[in-house]
């Protein structure tokens, strides 16, 4: 874009760092815009997941016995382990943002790295869980295999519609897992940029926004865990 800003009367006296985009007046305006945009996006995320949670609620209303019986087939210990992974990753993410605020490159870098690994650990556990379910035939919709499930120790006859429970389980955790993967991708990008020295206490709205996104992913898991694994 052309450098019109020189003719721009009101910018004359302003501090104009290189990372300030041409159409903003100040870093305050640029950062606030970025964050406002992210919060709106998070509002969008809440409503995106609302459909899945609503499907869960209605599933429970329609098939209460199914949900109570079928959730026993999920391994709450793995779920709890994953909860701890995500909560810890939220902590490291928050510390990374704090690192940016106090202008510490190592604090940013290593905390994001830790967050990335914890996200990876979450996905590994998720993979283990999924492969058990595949092995046991506990799959959504047409792929649900009652005989195989029984053979692998599921109760003889889950009342109602277990295929629907597992459909909801897979769609909810799958959509959530996809968000985790996207978050991990963003973190790799952050690591590159931190390493390049792009972020400091004045300019770290990208880091902050990825952080906000990551926390909302954690937030969704905070509800998924008891709803899917624990409630009796």
């Amino acid at each position: 874009m052309g450098q019109q800003s020189s003719s721009h009367a009101s910018t004359a006296g302003h501090h104009h760092p290189k990372y300030l985009a041409h159409h903003f007046e100040s870093m305050a305006q640029q950062n606030a815009s970025g964050k406002l945009g992210m919060w709106l996006f998070l509002g969008q995320e809440v409503l995106f997941f609302s459909g899945l949670f609503l499907a869960y609620v209605l599933g429970r209303i329609f098939y209460p016995e199914t949900f109570l019986a079928a959730h026993e087939l999920l391994d709450w210990k793995l779920g709890a382990l994953n909860t701890i992974f995500l909560l810890t990753s939220s902590l490291t993410m928050a510390l990374a943002v704090r690192g940016a605020q106090v202008n510490s490159k190592p604090q940013m870098f290593y905390n994001i790295l830790a967050t990335l690994f914890l996200g990876g650990a979450f996905m590994v556990v998720k993979y283990i869980e999924y492969s058990h379910k595949f092995h046991d035939g506990l799959l959504p919709g047409h792929f649900f295999d009652a005989a195989k499930a029984m053979h692998n120790g599921a109760p003889a006859n889950i009342p109602g519609a277990p295929a629907i429970f597992f459909a909801i389980y897979f769609v909810m955790t799958g959509t959530h897992g996809l968000h985790v993967l996207i978050g991990m991708g963003l973190m790799i990008w952050l690591l590159v940029r931190i390493n390049r020295g792009d972020f400091n206490s004045e300019n770290h709205v990208y880091l902050e926004n990825v952080g906000l996104y990551w926390h909302i992913v954690d937030l969704i898991w905070i509800f998924l865990f008891p709803l899917l694994y624990l409630v009796r």
Binding site: M27, I61, I222, F225, R232
Partner: protein, 139 residues
């Protein structure tokens, strides 16, 4: 209340060309983060323990959801800095939750009141489950 809301909206957006306001990051002490994290872990253990003990039906889900809401609030308020940030972000978040609630309330209202006037219309729970069972038998 409307006055308050209005001033909130206006304040948040007066920043445009007025120069910096509230740009200095609000740095929390490390201990705060660890305290929040510790609480989250304790609440996780609590919710697992409650589940293993096995409360009666309605109580179990109510307790689980209350604990989850407390955990979520901790994450939102401290990790996401909502407690210290521009109040307008909180407003956005609350609005999105409000619309989520609308979605839940109206849809559940329909589902839970079907067949109250004309029982034949409550096709879902009986027919659907019967069909489902037949389908399962065939497999």
């Amino acid at each position: 209340m409307f006055q308050k809301l209005r001033s909130l909206v206006l304040k948040s957006s007066s920043a445009a060309h007025a120069g910096g306001h509230g740009d200095e990051p609000h740095v929390l002490p490390l201990s705060t983060y660890f305290a929040v994290f510790g609480t989250l872990l304790v609440l996780t253990i609590l919710t697992v323990v409650v589940s293993v003990i096995g409360l009666p039906q309605p109580a179990a889900i109510i307790v689980a959801m209350i604990v989850a809401i407390i955990k979520a609030s901790l994450v939102v308020l401290w990790f996401m800095h909502l407690k210290f940030d521009d109040r307008f972000y909180s407003l956005i978040f609350v609005i999105s939750l409000f619309f989520l609630a609308l979605f839940f309330v109206f849809t559940s209202m329909d589902v839970l009141s079907r067949g109250h006037v004309n029982p034949e219309e409550n096709a879902f729970s009986q027919d659907g489950q019967l069909l489902r069972q037949e389908y399962m038998k065939k497999k």
